[in-house]
Symmetry: C2
Subunit: 244 residues, 2 copies
Amino acid sequence: MTGMLTIAGLGPGDEALVTPEVSAALADATDVVGYAPYVSRIAAREGLVLHASDNRQELQRAAEAMRLAAEGRRVVVVSSGDPGVFAMASAVFEVLEASPQSQGLGIRVLPGVTAMLAAAARAGAPLGHDFCAINLSDNLKPWPAIETRLRLAAEADFAIALYNPRSASRPEGFARALDVLKQAGCGDRIAIFAHAVTTAEERIDALPLQDARPEMADMRTLVIVCNSTTRRCGRWIYAPRRVS
Amino acid sequence: MTGMLTIAGLGPGDEALVTPEVSAALADATDVVGYAPYVSRIAAREGLVLHASDNRQELQRAAEAMRLAAEGRRVVVVSSGDPGVFAMASAVFEVLEASPQSQGLGIRVLPGVTAMLAAAARAGAPLGHDFCAINLSDNLKPWPAIETRLRLAAEADFAIALYNPRSASRPEGFARALDVLKQAGCGDRIAIFAHAVTTAEERIDALPLQDARPEMADMRTLVIVCNSTTRRCGRWIYAPRRVS
């Protein structure tokens, strides 16, 4: 039996957004490895072992998945959204680079619908013009680097998708991010708060950035700060294609 | 019969990357409207009318779709990738805003796997850290705005996904973009050229940006200029999560 390590994205929550490619990989798996809330999305069945782990256990999780695949098992590491966007793919490659004995292992990455695309679709088309994605978690990067990127993104007039805006362990960062963006002249821009997008708890709010309050976001929220030309049309919010 | 206008993304090319949500919308449609190469991906069946149009006909296409939906038909406007990323969603909302009589129409946007996610998955995880997406077509925005964004994106050390890098009608822009990025100090960064990703013609090349030649890209190519910390591990290219 030849092992295989598949790094797959489950999309933002709705099962109708899981690609057939990922569904096929899960149907063929012997082991699913991931953060507990994502593993809980996988139906139990005979012959499938579910390995759920805590948050911030990315490297241990990746190492466990690699060990299982080296034993000949067909392992799927699951992330929500897309596995390559602030998710497990980078962690797996970090472990792979530190494990020369694993470098012949069969590995594949299966993309998914990342949260900002689902949030944008619900709101209209706020990512219809140039945009960026910034992870507001400063667990693995210094906060000043985040502030610099926010300022440059504002100056570039990118729409700005903010991932992981706020958690219990980092309650202050998002408030600072909002201040940085206001100081950078983005107060009039539309801010979209997409909570638990495509799930039963979905809630989408939009308001001028200057009226946004930090407590509007949590770790299940994806925030899009629209670019300066973004408009409302009825309930829809969209970035026109043409800028002058 | 109540009309519905659905704006859907078909993903980058592989049918296994079309979400079940989009497949269901297509199965229920009376009309599919889009750029001819994307409409050609939809299987003909009784009761379905396919409306294929030329490139750069986005507004006419959106208006036609809206007219059909207003007549009570179930219309799906198809884009490749995600419809909200440099694709049809913004064009539909532009037409909607100019058509007050259409603003009660039922509209929904169904996200898809956009090209940069599929390209990143094939290469490894080059979008595992903060990144941006820039459309290099200057049909609808002035070229100096593109150059400014490229410089700011380089300064922010974003990975940079370049959509529509080069076409027969715009052969020069991509060469200038490469020059701007080299002048901005990105010569040593890894550039990934993902051609026709997930299709039978897929080809992925990666090399230092300073060695990249403009003719390596065409309109079916998605280019990712990696951030400065991105590394190779065997055949894989990935952005480590941690930066100092």
